[in-house]
Symmetry: C2
Subunit: 208 residues, 2 copies
């Protein structure tokens, strides 16, 4: 008989969240996951689920919180590694892609959640993206690369940048993680998107 296997507190909770992500990573959509399915994947009895989450939406919300941590780690690494302004875009995109690869399931969950079933999860992801965009605006301001833009125009630019990168995410997650050629294509295209946006920003006249 299976004994009670209590270990570190919160371990089962984590197992359940990981299990959901694993299923998403295998191609399932989060909205189609069930409680039993997730507990089965986690190697846990169905009733355990309720000890940690009220329902799947709740689990989704907690995943969004962890997603926030992943994004912040990514920002930190970008800030630490992007030293020269002329390579800023290339290097940032490269860091983004490597993080997206390393946390594939997380980013899949994010892409799904943007048009997902739970309004709360949707709003949470949107909020993370807004935060990301505003941090980006701060950095650009600090680097004094965009002095001619009003705050509002800079916010808009960063918003567009984040959206474009997020969309590239869906490209990236659509190809195999080993398909280096395709990944390189996506990297190049995303880089050019951002360059185009920043050229636009450089010549932007707030009035027009």
């Amino acid at each position: 008989m299976a004994e009670k296997q209590r270990r570190k507190p919160g371990e089962t909770r984590e197992k359940l969240m990981t299990a959901a992500l694993t299923l998403v990573g295998k191609g399932r959509h989060f909205a189609s996951l069930g409680i039993r399915e997730v507990t089965r994947q986690a190697g846990v009895v169905p009733t355990s689920f309720y000890r940690h989450f009220r329902n799947m939406d709740d689990l989704g919300l907690q995943l969004v919180d962890e997603l926030g941590l992943v994004l912040r780690r990514m920002m930190r690494e970008a800030r630490a590694n992007v030293l020269q302004a002329d390579k800023l875009i290339e290097e940032s995109v490269a860091i983004f892609i490597s993080h997206a690869q390393a946390n594939r399931s997380f980013f899949l969950f994010m892409a799904q959640g943007l048009a997902g079933e739970s309004r709360a999860v949707q709003e949470g992801i949107r909020s993370e993206m807004r935060f990301f965009a505003s941090e980006l605006a701060n950095d650009l301001r600090r680097l004094r690369l965009v002095d001619h833009l009003t705050d509002q125009d800079l916010d808009m630019t960063c918003d567009l940048v984040v959206r474009s990168v997020a969309f590239s995410l869906t490209d990236l997650l659509g190809v195999s993680a080993e398909d280096d050629y395709q990944i390189e294509q996506i990297r190049k295209r995303t880089t050019r998107f951002l360059q185009l946006i920043f050229v636009g920003a450089a010549h932007w006249q707030s009035a027009g």
Copy 2:
């Protein structure tokens, strides 16, 4: 007892597709819909489903085809109504938003499908977007507004435009259809995104 109610050929088929869209319109995610659920919504017996579709993915694929028609109608209207080049962006965005409102469920389905469960549906929607982008490139070329861009750079620009608009879609579908203020905000922001992109395109140097 319910009699056999055969009417126009393909009527049940259409009822099933409409039913799926209706459920999506009510906030459900396509990936979480079941056959029985859809047939129930359509007012049809579950077995009827198999007369028209092999499974839900199949239904999704056929919805993508219809989505193509919706997009083509939208392009036609845009081409007919956008006469003066200086208002091109504003008017196009306005037409896009009005179509998105009029076919809310369809566009919801599209937004969901981009990161959906079925690879085939995903690919289908992507393909529609590529077609849309290439038509846009043709139009811009024809209007001689972008003579300084290479074909490749024009394609990239249009790709970015379509992506940005598609992302705005998720904003739009997230707010109530009656919330005129928010919709106006989204319209303005999308317009500014596109303006920024075209300013970038106008100053774009292929080499750099």
